[in-house]
Every structure is written in C-alpha cells, then in structure tokens.
Symmetry: C2
C-alpha cells in the first residue's frame, strides 16, 4: 500500500477506471449496510459527478455518508414511504435513507408518471444529502424528457435574505436538463452568489473569492470568505449580490417553498443533522407542443447562443453542461480524475472493511 | 376636457377609483372588439399591476394592445385552441388572442386540474403580451395553491448569453406565488440584471442604471443604457452580471425551454411582432405534504427572513411582494395612482370611441 499511498497523496489528479471507482464506492456502501441497489446507484452517481468535474460533490462525499450511517444520521435503504399520491404529484418521506438513491428512484417514478399525465412532480422530505444535482439530469434528458430538480437543507443556513446580514437559508440549487438534437443543456446553479463548499475551499487555501459574493455584519459586500468564520459570522449573498440580490432572494424563497413547503418538512422542524428537502419535476415534450417541435426549438436556441457574437479575442459561448459533458467523455476514455484528497478520506474505511483502494491508470 | 388635460399632464400621480379605471379600460377594449369577459379581465389585471406599483406593465400597455388589435397583431378573443391535453399537462395555441385573458383562463384551468392531479402545467404558444406576471399570482395564492409563471417573447431579443455581447433572448421573467398564514410571498424576477423597460426609461431620462447590468460590444460591463442604442448595440447581462452571469444565463435558457420549447413555438419560427410564450404551473399543497404543513413551513420561513439581523441602521428585510401588497391596500383606500403619461396615451382612443376619461379623486 505504501506506493499507492504516495501516489494518492502526491497532489496530482490521478485517473481511475470509471467502473473500478464505481465498484469500489459500492463495495464500501454495501459493507456499511446499504443494499446492492442503493450501494451501486449511489456510487455510480457520485462517480458521475467526479467525471463531470464537480469534485466537491462526487466521491469526496462518500466518507461523510459512511460516517452518517455509523451515526444513524443516514439509515440503510428499504423503500421511500409514500406520504401522498395524487397521480401527477407524489410526496415521499425519505426517513434519511440515502439521498442519491431516493432521488434516483424519484426520477424513475416521475418519468413513468409524466408519460401518463404529461408532467409529474415528486417532493421528498427527510432525504439524506443528494450530492450533485447535475448528475441526475442525463437520466431524464436521455429519455427525451425535460426535468427540474431543486434541493435545500433545512438543517443548514448560509445565505442572508436580501437586506439582512444573517445566515438564514441554504444556497438552494436549481438544476434543469433540456434535451436538444445534440447534447443536452444541463443547468445547475445556486440561488446564491457562491456556495458553502467553494467558500470553505477558499478559506482553507487562504484565498479571496472571485467577486463580492458575501456580506459582513456591517452590511458590506466582500470577497473575503474569512467573514464566515467571524463571530457573529457574515453570510453568503443571494445571486445578484449587493445591487440585484432581491432577485436571488426571491429564487431562494421559491426553492425553499418547493422543497420544504411542498414536502411538509423544513426549518420549522429544526433538524440538526445534514439532510435534504427535494423537489423534482419531469415534463414530457410529447405531451406539450410535441417532441419534435421541442427539439427543433431547443436546438435552435442552443445554436443562437453558441454563435452569438463575443468580444474581440474572447472564446465562443459555452452552454451550461457543455464543459461537464466534455469532461465526462474524456473520463470515459482516459479515466476519471480524482481530487488528491478523496481516496485518503476513504482509506480508514478500506482498512475497516479490508477493501482494496482502486489503482490509478499508468 | 381642458381642465382634465392639464391635470393629467401635470406630472403628479393623480389617484383614481379602482373600479372606475377598470370600467374605463374595459370599455375601450370592448369598443375595439374584445368580448365582455376578455375586456374586463384584461383591464382588471392591468389596473392590478398599477395598484401594485408595476406601472410600466399596467394601463401603460393598453394603448399598445388597442393598436395591436387595429394592426391584426392581436386578435379578438374567442377561445384558446387546445393543442394537447394529457390531464396534468395542457398545451394551448393562443393565436395572439389577448395574453392577460389567455393567462387568466389558464390559471382557472390549471387550478381545476391541480385539484384533480395534484399539479398541473399549461404551455401557451402565440399568446399576445401577458403584462405583469405578479398580477396573476394572487389568483392562485388566494385559493391556497402555489404557482409558477414564466414567459418569454420569441419576437424580441435583449439579453446576451454569458460570454457573448450580442442580444439573443428576452429577460425571461420567473414569477412565483407562495401562500403563507399571513400575506403571500409574490416573486417576479427576470433572469437578467435589468429589463428592457427600465433601460429605456433610463435612456429617456438621460440617466445611468444602478449598476453594471449591461455589456458593450467590447465586452465591458457598464451602467450606461446608451450602449443599447449604439450600432452594433450592446446587450443586457444575465442576472449575476460580469462575474456570476453564467447562473442567470442558465435560468434564462430554462425559461426559454419551458415557454417556447414546451409550447412548441419560439425563436425558430421567427415571429416579427410582440407576443409571448407562456408556461404556468400550479401545485396543490394538499396533494403534497399537506396544506397545513405547507403553511406552517412557509410562514416560518417568512418569519425567519423578516426577523433576520440587518446591518446597523438598516431597515428590516422586505419580502418579495410585500411592497406591492401594501401599495395595493393603499390603492383600495386612496385610489390607484397613475403615472402621468398613461391617460394621455389613451386619449386618442377615448376620442375615437367617445368614451370619457376617468376623473381623478379630489
């Protein structure tokens, strides 16, 4: 193991076979109590996030999930509990079963219901963390459907309402998958200027952020993430920042209401450990203006944007998801690159269960 | 008429009885060919926008709509044409019938379907302009439902994709109504930093904008709306501006796909006069986690935000819709204030049809 250890601590992003990473991730989840299905689905979606370049929300999450299983903050999967079923609208109680698996199940159910009713939405209360929202979108767009996925975590607060300086709610991501005649458009944006993960990474690196995306307790917008560690702490600003943050604030409230409002479980219940309120919607273009007309429109829109005039010397427009999909294709061929801290974070678990670390490609 | 004329051109915001304005607005629409229902619904929703303080999207639009009827760009109402009906998802072809009336009909239909299926969505292609999105939200929240309303105009372009300097798509508003135990949260935000209307108003007044919400053709963010009149013109930046505009760009693409993609009519068809692609969704909280649980959550969220700590000396947080609802209450009591340009814009129509201008309150 010593050679391996040296390699994974070297700071390089070594590349690994995708299938090997998925099997490795699944083996650890199985060993700690998840079913075959939940273990493999969760590992596959985490590796998908790494493959798309979202490396804070890929296998970097697995050690935390394994520990949550130990602590009872995540429970082993059995089945989502149906709170209500009105045909096109379902509500599930996840009881803190694995969030990626719950959301994957929700995608399957919503696709089926949307075929029947034209659209379907599923609200999930008390899911565990659902990882990278963008990783779910190809499951929807590959079937020719359009999908929207929202999440919030009622146990966590980071963003200040516009006009305030106190952390009240989460960055509240909005993800949207749009099929076209070419590759899909995959949107995954938070309703805040930046995220907790990126702020923490900047703090650890002693760096400033790329813009004034935070607010200190005196009400000044700042690029200094250290204000999040002050007492009392500052907060993340809504998307739009100091001048247009009322817009991001509105979007954040919308996500909070869709996820925690419609699922009927949120900040009022005061949960104390990581989890997620989730809201998923799927639309069948065949049930709307028609599948062909939909693809004609979205492809035309993509073309208009890609061919839009740029400033002299500037690169062409990149559509949301374009970079992630290119990285994913590269990962299929060359292997999935892992951030150098990821496998070391899982080493205690490999030792506990006697499961070998995956070997990097040469 | 001369005294009246002096008054309405005086620059003061005179106040008018709400009912009188609605009857006046409806009389002009009826005179130019709309049915009793379409005329009264359209006038009522325009006056609602004025009452809520959205004075660029209230009666200020009526002269344009009347002219569009003359030009055949808006046609008199008969009924929306059903393109598809899958129960929870409907698609209508508006054939450029009055947009506020079409959207009002869609709200009624979506509420009924959402009661049945838990959620419902309606896409409308070839609507005429739908005015102020926020004006529709109380129709949904008063019934205890949550609603989302999106629109774009495939005949108009103003916003540059993130990374470009060319106008490609519209500001693409997202509106969301959330019932609480008190007054509802009414969100109405565009996916761009500012709107066409506010930019044009600043140009007319020779003013700068409140921030760098535009981009010139050299790729510089700017607060100078005059760049929109240059040749070639600059563009509106997506929400998030020069540093975070990839987020607003993603949201804009989402709105374009929901409205023009799902309705099956958009920029590909190259319409040449004002219109709207519309997407409406309604959610029945009773079909989700439960109506009481929903209201408990949203009221708690509203309380958390309203009570959030602010910077020393700063006013308390204002929730989206709070100001509009306060103005609306004031308008019920004191009359609806009209921007001084509005009634003069309708004077040619009052003369054509021999309909008296409403009299301001003393």
């Amino acid at each position: 193991m010593s050679v391996e250890r040296t390699k994974i601590e070297s700071g390089d992003r070594l590349r690994y076979d995708r299938a090997a990473l998925e099997q490795f991730g699944a083996a650890l989840f199985r060993a700690n109590g998840l079913s075959e299905e939940a273990a493999s689905v969760t590992a596959r979606l985490l590796v998908e996030a790494d493959a798309m370049g979202h490396d804070t929300h890929g296998l970097a999450q697995e050690a935390g999930y394994l520990k949550a299983l130990d602590d009872g903050h995540m429970i082993a999967d059995s089945a989502p509990e149906i709170v209500r079923d009105k045909g096109a609208a379902l509500t599930w109680d996840g009881r803190y079963q694995p969030g990626l698996w719950l959301t994957w199940r929700a995608v399957q159910a919503a696709l089926e219901r949307a075929e029947q009713f034209g659209t379907a939405s599923i609200a999930i209360r008390r899911s565990h963390h659902i990882g990278c929202l963008a990783a779910f979108l190809p499951l929807i767009t590959e079937r020719g459907f359009m999908g929207l996925l929202y999440s919030s975590d009622p146990a966590i607060k980071a963003v200040a309402p516009f006009g305030a300086v106190e952390q009240i709610y989460t960055p509240d991501p909005i993800a949207c998958g749009i099929p076209t005649r070419g590759e899909p458009i995959l949107i995954d944006v938070s309703a805040s200027g930046t995220t907790i993960g990126l702020s923490m990474r900047a703090i650890a690196a002693g760096e400033k952020l790329g813009g004034d995306w935070l607010i200190d307790t005196d009400g000044n917008a700042t690029d200094d993430p250290a204000i999040l560690m002050a007492y009392p702490p500052g907060a993340l600003l809504p998307l739009g920042g100091a001048d247009r943050g009322h817009k991001g604030f509105g979007l954040g409230l919308m996500v909070e209401a869709l996820t925690s409002g419609l699922s009927g479980f949120g900040r009022l219940q005061g949960p104390t450990h990581q989890g997620a309120s989730v809201f998923l919607q799927v639309f069948d273009p065949d049930a709307s203006g028609g599948g062909e007309a939909f693809l004609d429109e979205t492809q035309h829109l993509a073309n208009l944007c890609r061919n839009a005039r740029t400033a002299p010397g500037a690169p062409p427009v990149r559509l949301p998801g374009q970079r992630g999909l290119a990285l994913k294709r590269e990962a299929e061929t060359d292997g999935v690159p892992l951030h150098p801290t990821i496998l070391p974070s899982l080493q205690p678990w490999t030792e506990r269960y006697g499961i070998a670390l995956p070997q990097p490609r040469r």
